[in-house]
Protein backbone atom coordinates (compact mmCIF):
# COMPACT_ATOMS: atom_id res chain seq x y z
CA UNK A 1 0.00 0.00 0.00
CA UNK A 2 2.74 2.43 0.98
CA UNK A 3 4.50 1.93 -2.36
CA UNK A 4 1.22 2.55 -4.19
CA UNK A 5 0.53 5.85 -2.41
CA UNK A 6 4.12 6.85 -2.95
CA UNK A 7 3.76 6.11 -6.64
CA UNK A 8 0.55 8.17 -6.66
CA UNK A 9 2.28 11.15 -5.12
CA UNK A 10 5.08 10.81 -7.63
CA UNK A 11 2.62 10.84 -10.52
CA UNK A 12 0.88 13.85 -8.96
CA UNK A 13 4.18 15.69 -8.71
CA UNK A 14 5.03 14.76 -12.26
CA UNK A 15 1.71 16.12 -13.53
CA UNK A 16 1.91 19.34 -11.57
CA UNK A 17 5.30 20.51 -12.84
CA UNK A 18 4.43 20.39 -16.57
CA UNK A 19 1.22 22.35 -15.91
CA UNK A 20 3.20 25.17 -14.29
CA UNK A 21 5.82 25.10 -17.05
CA UNK A 22 3.12 25.22 -19.74
CA UNK A 23 1.41 28.22 -18.13
CA UNK A 24 4.80 29.98 -18.07
CA UNK A 25 5.32 29.11 -21.77
CA UNK A 26 1.90 30.47 -22.75
CA UNK A 27 2.43 33.73 -20.85
CA UNK A 28 5.87 34.18 -22.44
CA UNK A 29 4.41 33.52 -25.89
CA UNK A 30 1.66 36.10 -25.37
CA UNK A 31 4.13 38.70 -24.09
CA UNK A 32 6.39 38.27 -27.13
CA UNK A 33 3.34 38.44 -29.42
CA UNK A 34 2.12 41.61 -27.71
CA UNK A 35 5.40 43.48 -28.07
CA UNK A 36 5.99 42.26 -31.63
CA UNK A 37 2.53 43.57 -32.53
CA UNK A 38 3.21 46.92 -30.82
CA UNK A 39 6.50 47.18 -32.72
CA UNK A 40 4.90 46.49 -36.12
CA UNK A 41 1.87 48.62 -35.28
CA UNK A 42 -0.28 47.46 -38.20
CA UNK A 43 -4.00 46.53 -38.34
CA UNK A 44 -2.91 43.28 -39.99
CA UNK A 45 -0.98 42.18 -36.91
CA UNK A 46 -3.39 42.50 -33.94
CA UNK A 47 -2.09 42.04 -30.38
CA UNK A 48 -3.48 39.16 -28.24
CA UNK A 49 -6.07 41.31 -26.42
CA UNK A 50 -7.71 42.18 -29.77
CA UNK A 51 -8.14 38.44 -30.38
CA UNK A 52 -9.77 38.12 -26.96
CA UNK A 53 -12.08 41.04 -27.76
CA UNK A 54 -13.01 39.47 -31.08
CA UNK A 55 -13.67 36.18 -29.31
CA UNK A 56 -15.92 37.79 -26.67
CA UNK A 57 -17.76 39.69 -29.38
CA UNK A 58 -18.28 36.57 -31.49
CA UNK A 59 -19.34 34.55 -28.47
CA UNK A 60 -21.90 37.17 -27.41
CA UNK A 61 -23.31 38.35 -30.73
CA UNK A 62 -22.45 35.71 -33.31
CA UNK A 63 -20.97 36.50 -36.71
CA UNK A 64 -22.13 38.95 -39.37
CA UNK A 65 -24.67 36.42 -40.71
CA UNK A 66 -26.13 35.83 -37.23
CA UNK A 67 -24.62 32.38 -36.73
CA UNK A 68 -23.34 31.86 -33.20
CA UNK A 69 -19.71 30.90 -32.57
CA UNK A 70 -20.87 27.66 -30.91
CA UNK A 71 -22.83 26.70 -34.02
CA UNK A 72 -19.62 27.05 -36.06
CA UNK A 73 -17.61 25.01 -33.55
CA UNK A 74 -20.23 22.32 -33.24
CA UNK A 75 -20.70 22.03 -37.01
CA UNK A 76 -16.97 21.42 -37.56
CA UNK A 77 -16.63 19.14 -34.54
CA UNK A 78 -19.63 17.07 -35.57
CA UNK A 79 -18.30 16.57 -39.11
CA UNK A 80 -14.90 15.58 -37.73
CA UNK A 81 -16.43 13.09 -35.30
CA UNK A 82 -18.61 11.41 -37.96
CA UNK A 83 -15.81 11.12 -40.52
CA UNK A 84 -13.25 10.09 -37.92
CA UNK A 85 -15.57 7.41 -36.51
CA UNK A 86 -16.13 6.04 -40.02
CA UNK A 87 -12.37 5.93 -40.58
CA UNK A 88 -11.81 3.97 -37.35
CA UNK A 89 -14.79 1.65 -37.86
CA UNK A 90 -13.53 0.65 -41.31
CA UNK A 91 -9.79 1.05 -40.78
CA UNK A 92 -9.42 -1.28 -37.80
CA UNK A 93 -11.24 -4.35 -39.19
CA UNK A 94 -9.66 -3.95 -42.64
CA UNK A 95 -6.21 -3.53 -41.08
CA UNK A 96 -6.77 -6.65 -38.98
CA UNK A 97 -8.07 -8.60 -41.96
CA UNK A 98 -5.16 -7.66 -44.21
CA UNK A 99 -2.67 -8.17 -41.37
CA UNK A 100 -4.00 -11.64 -40.59
CA UNK A 101 -4.22 -12.61 -44.27
CA UNK A 102 -0.86 -11.48 -45.67
CA UNK A 103 -1.68 -13.19 -48.95
CA UNK A 104 -4.76 -11.01 -49.40
CA UNK A 105 -2.77 -7.88 -48.63
CA UNK A 106 0.05 -8.91 -50.97
CA UNK A 107 -2.45 -9.54 -53.75
CA UNK A 108 -4.19 -6.15 -53.37
CA UNK A 109 -1.18 -4.03 -52.40
CA UNK A 110 -0.92 -2.26 -55.74
CA UNK A 111 -4.51 -1.05 -55.36
CA UNK A 112 -4.48 -0.20 -51.65
CA UNK A 113 -1.14 1.54 -51.32
CA UNK A 114 -1.43 4.20 -54.08
CA UNK A 115 -4.67 5.42 -52.46
CA UNK A 116 -2.64 6.29 -49.40
CA UNK A 117 -0.75 8.92 -51.39
CA UNK A 118 -3.80 10.73 -52.74
CA UNK A 119 -4.25 13.46 -50.11
CA UNK A 120 -7.79 14.02 -48.82
CA UNK A 121 -7.69 17.53 -50.30
CA UNK A 122 -7.31 15.98 -53.76
CA UNK A 123 -10.70 14.32 -53.20
CA UNK A 124 -12.47 17.65 -52.71
CA UNK A 125 -13.42 18.17 -56.40
CA UNK A 126 -15.04 14.72 -56.60
CA UNK A 127 -16.70 15.17 -53.22
CA UNK A 128 -18.22 18.47 -54.39
CA UNK A 129 -19.71 16.75 -57.42
CA UNK A 130 -21.02 13.64 -55.69
CA UNK A 131 -22.03 14.78 -52.19
CA UNK A 132 -23.44 17.77 -50.40
CA UNK A 133 -23.86 18.71 -46.76
CA UNK A 134 -22.68 16.40 -44.02
CA UNK A 135 -21.88 13.39 -46.29
CA UNK A 136 -19.44 15.54 -48.28
CA UNK A 137 -17.46 16.57 -45.20
CA UNK A 138 -17.73 13.19 -43.50
CA UNK A 139 -16.47 11.50 -46.67
CA UNK A 140 -13.42 13.77 -46.92
CA UNK A 141 -12.56 13.34 -43.24
CA UNK A 142 -13.04 9.61 -43.59
CA UNK A 143 -10.47 9.60 -46.41
CA UNK A 144 -8.09 11.57 -44.21
CA UNK A 145 -8.44 9.39 -41.11
CA UNK A 146 -8.84 5.94 -42.65
CA UNK A 147 -5.24 5.38 -43.77
CA UNK A 148 -3.44 6.31 -40.53
CA UNK A 149 -5.72 3.90 -38.64
CA UNK A 150 -5.58 1.18 -41.31
CA UNK A 151 -1.79 1.31 -41.75
CA UNK A 152 -0.97 1.30 -38.06
CA UNK A 153 -3.37 -1.61 -37.43
CA UNK A 154 -1.75 -3.52 -40.28
CA UNK A 155 1.72 -2.92 -38.85
CA UNK A 156 0.53 -3.79 -35.35
CA UNK A 157 -0.63 -7.26 -36.38
CA UNK A 158 2.94 -8.20 -37.27
CA UNK A 159 3.87 -7.53 -33.64
CA UNK A 160 1.73 -10.43 -32.39
CA UNK A 161 4.08 -13.02 -30.94
CA UNK A 162 3.71 -16.63 -31.97
CA UNK A 163 4.23 -17.76 -28.38
CA UNK A 164 1.22 -15.74 -27.17
CA UNK A 165 -0.99 -17.33 -29.79
CA UNK A 166 0.34 -20.73 -28.77
CA UNK A 167 -0.53 -20.07 -25.11
CA UNK A 168 -4.17 -19.57 -26.06
CA UNK A 169 -4.34 -22.45 -28.56
CA UNK A 170 -2.83 -24.95 -26.11
CA UNK A 171 -5.71 -24.28 -23.70
CA UNK A 172 -8.20 -24.90 -26.49
CA UNK A 173 -8.93 -21.31 -27.58
CA UNK A 174 -10.98 -20.76 -30.74
CA UNK A 175 -9.73 -18.54 -33.58
CA UNK A 176 -12.13 -15.85 -32.43
CA UNK A 177 -10.71 -15.97 -28.90
CA UNK A 178 -7.18 -15.60 -30.30
CA UNK A 179 -8.37 -12.58 -32.31
CA UNK A 180 -10.08 -10.82 -29.41
CA UNK A 181 -7.76 -11.82 -26.55
CA UNK A 182 -4.31 -12.09 -28.16
CA UNK A 183 -4.27 -10.12 -31.42
CA UNK A 184 -6.40 -7.17 -30.31
CA UNK A 185 -4.57 -6.40 -27.03
CA UNK A 186 -1.26 -6.53 -28.93
CA UNK A 187 -2.47 -4.22 -31.71
CA UNK A 188 -4.44 -1.79 -29.53
CA UNK A 189 -1.50 0.55 -28.76
CA UNK A 190 -0.83 0.84 -32.51
CA UNK A 191 -4.52 1.48 -33.20
CA UNK A 192 -4.61 4.26 -30.62
CA UNK A 193 -1.44 5.80 -32.05
CA UNK A 194 -2.98 5.65 -35.52
CA UNK A 195 -6.14 7.30 -34.20
CA UNK A 196 -4.16 10.26 -32.89
CA UNK A 197 -2.44 10.71 -36.23
CA UNK A 198 -5.83 10.38 -37.93
CA UNK A 199 -7.24 13.11 -35.72
CA UNK A 200 -4.66 15.57 -37.02
CA UNK A 201 -5.50 14.58 -40.59
CA UNK A 202 -9.21 14.97 -39.84
CA UNK A 203 -8.86 18.60 -38.67
CA UNK A 204 -6.61 19.40 -41.59
CA UNK A 205 -9.22 18.08 -43.96
CA UNK A 206 -12.28 19.72 -42.40
CA UNK A 207 -10.88 23.23 -42.67
CA UNK A 208 -9.82 22.70 -46.28
CA UNK A 209 -13.23 21.23 -47.11
CA UNK A 210 -15.12 24.09 -45.47
CA UNK A 211 -12.93 26.66 -47.19
CA UNK A 212 -13.94 25.16 -50.52
CA UNK A 213 -17.53 26.19 -49.88
CA UNK A 214 -20.88 24.48 -49.99
CA UNK A 215 -21.81 25.50 -46.46
CA UNK A 216 -22.49 28.67 -44.51
CA UNK A 217 -21.44 27.22 -41.17
CA UNK A 218 -18.30 25.74 -39.70
CA UNK A 219 -15.06 27.22 -38.38
CA UNK A 220 -13.35 27.10 -41.80
CA UNK A 221 -16.32 28.88 -43.39
CA UNK A 222 -16.35 31.51 -40.67
CA UNK A 223 -12.67 32.23 -41.29
CA UNK A 224 -13.23 32.69 -45.03
CA UNK A 225 -16.10 35.10 -44.37
CA UNK A 226 -13.92 37.27 -42.15
CA UNK A 227 -11.01 37.03 -44.60
CA UNK A 228 -13.26 38.66 -47.20
CA UNK A 229 -13.87 41.47 -44.67
CA UNK A 230 -10.12 41.69 -43.89
CA UNK A 231 -10.88 41.19 -40.16
CA UNK A 232 -7.71 39.46 -38.96
CA UNK A 233 -8.70 39.04 -35.30
CA UNK A 234 -11.81 36.96 -36.10
CA UNK A 235 -9.76 34.72 -38.40
CA UNK A 236 -7.25 34.13 -35.61
CA UNK A 237 -10.13 33.27 -33.23
CA UNK A 238 -11.10 30.50 -35.66
CA UNK A 239 -7.51 29.25 -35.81
CA UNK A 240 -7.16 29.23 -32.03
CA UNK A 241 -10.46 27.35 -31.65
CA UNK A 242 -9.39 24.67 -34.14
CA UNK A 243 -6.12 24.26 -32.27
CA UNK A 244 -7.89 24.10 -28.91
CA UNK A 245 -10.52 21.56 -30.07
CA UNK A 246 -7.87 19.34 -31.68
CA UNK A 247 -5.69 19.58 -28.60
CA UNK A 248 -8.61 18.66 -26.32
CA UNK A 249 -9.51 15.60 -28.42
CA UNK A 250 -5.88 14.51 -28.48
CA UNK A 251 -5.65 14.83 -24.69
CA UNK A 252 -8.80 12.70 -24.31
CA UNK A 253 -7.27 9.97 -26.49
CA UNK A 254 -3.99 10.19 -24.56
CA UNK A 255 -5.72 9.81 -21.20
CA UNK A 256 -7.59 6.76 -22.53
CA UNK A 257 -4.24 5.34 -23.65
CA UNK A 258 -2.68 5.93 -20.26
CA UNK A 259 -5.56 4.16 -18.58
CA UNK A 260 -5.56 1.26 -21.06
CA UNK A 261 -1.85 0.62 -21.32
CA UNK A 262 -0.67 0.65 -17.75
CA UNK A 263 0.99 -2.67 -18.61
CA UNK A 264 3.44 -1.01 -20.95
CA UNK A 265 6.78 0.06 -19.61
CA UNK A 266 7.96 3.58 -20.18
CA UNK A 267 11.30 4.00 -21.93
CA UNK A 268 13.37 6.83 -20.52
CA UNK A 269 16.85 7.83 -21.58
Amino acid sequence: MSTASLAGRWAGGRQFRPVVLNVVSIVAFLVVWHFASALVNSPFFPPPYKIVQAFVNLAQHGDTMGNSLWAHCWASLYRVLVGFAAGVVLGVPLGLLMGLMPGFYAATRSIVEPFRFIPPIAWIPLAIIFFSGLPRFAFLIFIGSFFPVFTSTLVGVSRVEQIHRKVAVVYGASRFYVLTHIVLPTVLPDIMGGMRVALGAAWLTIVAAELSGGTSIGLGRMMVNYAELLQISEIVVGMVLIGALGFAMNEILLSIERRLFRWRWQVTL
Binding site: I163, K166, V167, V169, V170, Y171, G172, F261
Partner: protein
Protein backbone atom coordinates in the same frame (compact mmCIF):
# COMPACT_ATOMS: atom_id res chain seq x y z
CA UNK B 1 -1.35 -41.61 -22.83
CA UNK B 2 0.05 -43.53 -25.76
CA UNK B 3 1.85 -42.11 -28.75
CA UNK B 4 3.17 -43.51 -31.98
CA UNK B 5 4.72 -40.81 -34.10
CA UNK B 6 6.59 -40.37 -37.33
CA UNK B 7 7.04 -36.75 -38.29
CA UNK B 8 8.60 -35.06 -41.27
CA UNK B 9 9.34 -31.40 -41.73
CA UNK B 10 9.63 -31.00 -45.47
CA UNK B 11 12.22 -33.56 -46.50
CA UNK B 12 13.63 -33.75 -43.01
CA UNK B 13 12.67 -36.82 -40.98
CA UNK B 14 12.30 -35.51 -37.42
CA UNK B 15 10.80 -38.41 -35.51
CA UNK B 16 11.25 -41.95 -36.74
CA UNK B 17 8.55 -44.22 -35.38
CA UNK B 18 8.62 -42.99 -31.78
CA UNK B 19 6.45 -45.20 -29.58
CA UNK B 20 5.79 -44.55 -25.96
CA UNK B 21 3.17 -44.99 -23.30
CA UNK B 22 2.84 -42.66 -20.31
CA UNK B 23 1.03 -43.75 -17.17
CA UNK B 24 -1.43 -41.54 -15.37
CA UNK B 25 0.25 -39.20 -12.87
CA UNK B 26 3.66 -40.20 -14.09
CA UNK B 27 6.53 -37.68 -14.13
CA UNK B 28 8.30 -38.49 -17.38
CA UNK B 29 11.48 -36.74 -18.41
CA UNK B 30 12.60 -36.68 -22.02
CA UNK B 31 16.28 -36.05 -22.62
CA UNK B 32 18.12 -35.63 -25.84
CA UNK B 33 20.73 -33.62 -27.67
CA UNK B 34 19.67 -30.17 -28.79
CA UNK B 35 18.00 -30.04 -32.18
CA UNK B 36 16.50 -33.52 -31.89
CA UNK B 37 12.93 -32.23 -32.17
CA UNK B 38 11.94 -32.20 -28.50
CA UNK B 39 9.83 -29.07 -28.79
CA UNK B 40 8.03 -30.39 -31.86
CA UNK B 41 7.39 -33.62 -29.97
CA UNK B 42 5.63 -31.68 -27.21
CA UNK B 43 3.62 -29.72 -29.80
CA UNK B 44 2.48 -33.06 -31.20
CA UNK B 45 1.61 -34.37 -27.72
CA UNK B 46 -0.43 -31.18 -27.15
CA UNK B 47 -2.33 -31.80 -30.37
CA UNK B 48 -1.39 -28.42 -31.89
CA UNK B 49 0.89 -30.02 -34.51
CA UNK B 50 -0.29 -33.05 -36.45
CA UNK B 51 2.33 -35.77 -36.95
CA UNK B 52 2.97 -36.87 -40.53
CA UNK B 53 2.01 -40.38 -39.51
CA UNK B 54 0.80 -42.01 -36.33
CA UNK B 55 -1.27 -40.62 -33.50
CA UNK B 56 -1.34 -39.44 -29.91
CA UNK B 57 -4.10 -40.93 -27.77
CA UNK B 58 -5.16 -39.64 -24.38
CA UNK B 59 -7.53 -42.07 -22.66
CA UNK B 60 -8.05 -43.71 -26.05
CA UNK B 61 -9.00 -40.44 -27.80
CA UNK B 62 -6.97 -38.37 -30.25
CA UNK B 63 -5.20 -35.56 -28.34
CA UNK B 64 -7.09 -32.28 -28.90
CA UNK B 65 -6.65 -29.09 -26.85
CA UNK B 66 -10.37 -28.35 -27.19
CA UNK B 67 -11.35 -31.72 -25.69
CA UNK B 68 -8.50 -32.55 -23.33
CA UNK B 69 -7.20 -30.55 -20.47
CA UNK B 70 -3.64 -29.93 -21.57
CA UNK B 71 -1.20 -27.40 -20.13
CA UNK B 72 2.09 -26.20 -21.51
CA UNK B 73 5.02 -24.45 -19.86
CA UNK B 74 7.17 -22.95 -22.58
CA UNK B 75 10.90 -22.47 -22.68
CA UNK B 76 10.67 -18.75 -23.46
CA UNK B 77 8.76 -16.12 -21.52
CA UNK B 78 5.11 -16.67 -22.34
CA UNK B 79 3.29 -14.42 -19.89
CA UNK B 80 0.86 -12.07 -21.62
CA UNK B 81 2.28 -8.55 -21.03
CA UNK B 82 -1.13 -6.81 -20.98
CA UNK B 83 -2.46 -8.94 -18.10
CA UNK B 84 -1.41 -8.74 -14.46
CA UNK B 85 -0.20 -11.81 -12.56
CA UNK B 86 -3.66 -12.85 -11.41
CA UNK B 87 -5.20 -12.54 -14.89
CA UNK B 88 -2.24 -14.32 -16.50
CA UNK B 89 -2.63 -17.30 -14.20
CA UNK B 90 -6.36 -17.46 -14.93
CA UNK B 91 -5.89 -17.50 -18.72
CA UNK B 92 -6.37 -21.26 -19.16
CA UNK B 93 -9.40 -21.34 -16.87
CA UNK B 94 -11.04 -18.42 -18.70
CA UNK B 95 -10.49 -20.07 -22.09
CA UNK B 96 -12.12 -23.19 -20.67
CA UNK B 97 -15.06 -20.99 -19.55
CA UNK B 98 -14.99 -22.05 -15.90
CA UNK B 99 -17.33 -20.14 -13.57
CA UNK B 100 -15.89 -16.88 -12.17
CA UNK B 101 -15.99 -18.05 -8.54
CA UNK B 102 -14.09 -21.22 -9.40
CA UNK B 103 -11.43 -19.27 -11.35
CA UNK B 104 -10.97 -16.88 -8.41
CA UNK B 105 -10.58 -19.74 -5.95
CA UNK B 106 -8.19 -21.81 -8.07
CA UNK B 107 -6.01 -18.84 -9.03
CA UNK B 108 -5.85 -17.82 -5.39
CA UNK B 109 -4.81 -21.34 -4.35
CA UNK B 110 -2.03 -21.68 -6.88
CA UNK B 111 -0.68 -18.17 -6.19
CA UNK B 112 0.02 -19.38 -2.66
CA UNK B 113 1.63 -22.60 -3.88
CA UNK B 114 4.09 -20.88 -6.25
CA UNK B 115 4.86 -18.09 -3.79
CA UNK B 116 3.52 -15.12 -5.73
CA UNK B 117 1.33 -13.84 -2.90
CA UNK B 118 1.57 -10.03 -2.81
CA UNK B 119 2.40 -9.80 -6.52
CA UNK B 120 -1.15 -10.44 -7.80
CA UNK B 121 -1.54 -7.05 -9.48
CA UNK B 122 1.98 -6.78 -10.90
CA UNK B 123 2.46 -6.75 -14.66
CA UNK B 124 5.06 -9.07 -16.26
CA UNK B 125 7.47 -6.23 -17.02
CA UNK B 126 7.71 -5.59 -13.29
CA UNK B 127 8.79 -9.19 -12.56
CA UNK B 128 12.13 -11.01 -12.81
CA UNK B 129 12.64 -13.87 -15.26
CA UNK B 130 12.24 -16.45 -12.50
CA UNK B 131 8.97 -14.91 -11.29
CA UNK B 132 7.60 -14.77 -14.84
CA UNK B 133 8.35 -18.45 -15.25
CA UNK B 134 6.60 -19.09 -11.95
CA UNK B 135 3.53 -17.31 -13.36
CA UNK B 136 3.65 -19.64 -16.38
CA UNK B 137 3.93 -22.69 -14.13
CA UNK B 138 1.05 -21.46 -11.99
CA UNK B 139 -1.04 -20.94 -15.15
CA UNK B 140 -0.26 -24.52 -16.21
CA UNK B 141 -1.25 -26.01 -12.85
CA UNK B 142 -4.29 -23.79 -12.25
CA UNK B 143 -6.33 -25.80 -14.74
CA UNK B 144 -6.70 -29.37 -13.54
CA UNK B 145 -4.75 -30.55 -16.55
CA UNK B 146 -4.70 -34.23 -17.47
CA UNK B 147 -1.36 -33.60 -19.08
CA UNK B 148 1.25 -30.93 -18.27
CA UNK B 149 3.92 -30.48 -20.91
CA UNK B 150 7.07 -28.64 -19.84
CA UNK B 151 9.61 -27.60 -22.45
CA UNK B 152 12.97 -26.86 -20.78
CA UNK B 153 11.18 -24.40 -18.50
CA UNK B 154 14.23 -23.56 -16.37
CA UNK B 155 16.87 -23.28 -19.07
CA UNK B 156 17.09 -19.48 -18.85
CA UNK B 157 17.32 -19.37 -15.05
CA UNK B 158 20.46 -19.19 -12.94
CA UNK B 159 21.52 -22.31 -11.00
CA UNK B 160 20.10 -21.45 -7.53
CA UNK B 161 16.76 -20.33 -9.00
CA UNK B 162 16.67 -23.41 -11.18
CA UNK B 163 17.15 -25.73 -8.19
CA UNK B 164 14.53 -23.87 -6.20
CA UNK B 165 12.05 -24.13 -9.08
CA UNK B 166 12.74 -27.85 -9.50
CA UNK B 167 11.85 -28.44 -5.87
CA UNK B 168 8.76 -26.25 -6.25
CA UNK B 169 7.50 -28.17 -9.28
CA UNK B 170 8.01 -31.44 -7.41
CA UNK B 171 6.08 -30.16 -4.43
CA UNK B 172 3.22 -28.90 -6.64
CA UNK B 173 3.18 -32.27 -8.40
CA UNK B 174 3.16 -34.13 -5.07
CA UNK B 175 0.23 -31.99 -3.86
CA UNK B 176 -1.78 -32.31 -7.05
CA UNK B 177 -0.79 -35.41 -8.93
CA UNK B 178 -0.97 -35.23 -12.68
CA UNK B 179 0.86 -36.53 -15.72
CA UNK B 180 3.90 -34.43 -16.52
CA UNK B 181 6.11 -34.70 -19.58
CA UNK B 182 9.24 -32.67 -18.88
CA UNK B 183 11.74 -32.04 -21.66
CA UNK B 184 15.30 -31.11 -20.74
CA UNK B 185 18.83 -31.57 -22.00
CA UNK B 186 20.15 -31.52 -18.46
CA UNK B 187 20.63 -35.14 -17.25
CA UNK B 188 20.88 -34.20 -13.60
CA UNK B 189 17.57 -32.37 -13.83
CA UNK B 190 15.97 -35.39 -15.53
CA UNK B 191 17.20 -37.87 -12.92
CA UNK B 192 16.26 -35.52 -10.09
CA UNK B 193 12.68 -34.99 -11.28
CA UNK B 194 11.51 -37.99 -13.27
CA UNK B 195 9.86 -41.32 -12.46
CA UNK B 196 11.34 -42.37 -15.75
CA UNK B 197 13.86 -40.88 -18.18
CA UNK B 198 13.60 -41.39 -21.91
CA UNK B 199 16.67 -40.67 -24.00
CA UNK B 200 16.27 -39.59 -27.60
CA UNK B 201 18.85 -39.82 -30.37
CA UNK B 202 19.82 -37.03 -32.72
CA UNK B 203 17.60 -36.51 -35.79
CA UNK B 204 15.78 -38.55 -36.86
CA UNK B 205 14.86 -39.00 -33.20
CA UNK B 206 14.42 -42.53 -31.88
CA UNK B 207 14.17 -43.72 -28.30
CA UNK B 208 17.58 -45.07 -27.38
CA UNK B 209 16.90 -45.77 -23.71
CA UNK B 210 13.99 -45.94 -21.31
CA UNK B 211 15.35 -45.76 -17.80
CA UNK B 212 13.12 -46.09 -14.73
CA UNK B 213 14.31 -43.94 -11.82
CA UNK B 214 13.31 -45.77 -8.67
CA UNK B 215 15.27 -43.63 -6.24
CA UNK B 216 13.24 -42.60 -3.19
CA UNK B 217 12.05 -38.98 -3.01
CA UNK B 218 13.21 -36.47 -1.98
CA UNK B 219 16.30 -37.32 -3.98
CA UNK B 220 19.81 -36.38 -3.02
CA UNK B 221 21.86 -35.39 -6.08
CA UNK B 222 25.12 -36.26 -4.34
CA UNK B 223 24.10 -39.75 -3.15
CA UNK B 224 25.91 -42.73 -4.69
CA UNK B 225 22.76 -44.16 -6.31
CA UNK B 226 21.94 -40.83 -7.91
CA UNK B 227 25.38 -40.20 -9.34
CA UNK B 228 25.55 -43.80 -10.62
CA UNK B 229 22.29 -43.42 -12.52
CA UNK B 230 23.30 -40.03 -13.85
CA UNK B 231 26.60 -41.53 -15.05
CA UNK B 232 24.70 -44.32 -16.81
CA UNK B 233 22.64 -41.74 -18.71
CA UNK B 234 25.75 -39.72 -19.53
CA UNK B 235 27.49 -42.82 -20.91
CA UNK B 236 24.52 -43.55 -23.13
CA UNK B 237 24.69 -40.02 -24.47
CA UNK B 238 28.42 -40.33 -25.07
CA UNK B 239 28.00 -43.64 -26.95
CA UNK B 240 25.39 -41.95 -29.10
CA UNK B 241 27.79 -39.13 -29.99
CA UNK B 242 30.55 -41.69 -30.65
CA UNK B 243 28.21 -43.59 -32.98
CA UNK B 244 27.38 -40.39 -34.81
CA UNK B 245 31.04 -39.52 -35.15
CA UNK B 246 32.03 -42.96 -36.47
CA UNK B 247 29.12 -42.92 -38.91
CA UNK B 248 30.22 -39.52 -40.11
CA UNK B 249 33.85 -40.58 -40.60
CA UNK B 250 32.67 -43.78 -42.33
CA UNK B 251 30.59 -41.79 -44.80
CA UNK B 252 33.54 -39.48 -45.36
CA UNK B 253 35.69 -42.53 -46.17
CA UNK B 254 33.14 -43.72 -48.69
CA UNK B 255 33.11 -40.33 -50.32
Amino acid sequence: MRAEITHRYGDLLVHDGLRLAIRENEFLCICGPSGCGKTTLLDIFAGIVKPSAGEVLIDGEQADPKRHNISFVFQEASTLPWLDVRANIGTGLRIKKRPKAEIGRKVDDIIGVVGLRGFESYYPHQLSGGMKQRVSIARAFATDADLVLMDEPFVSLDQPTREKMQREVLSIWEHRRRTIVFVTHNLEEAVFLGDRVIMLSTKPARIVADIPVDLPRPRNPVSADFTALRARCANLLQEMHADDASQESASKHEA
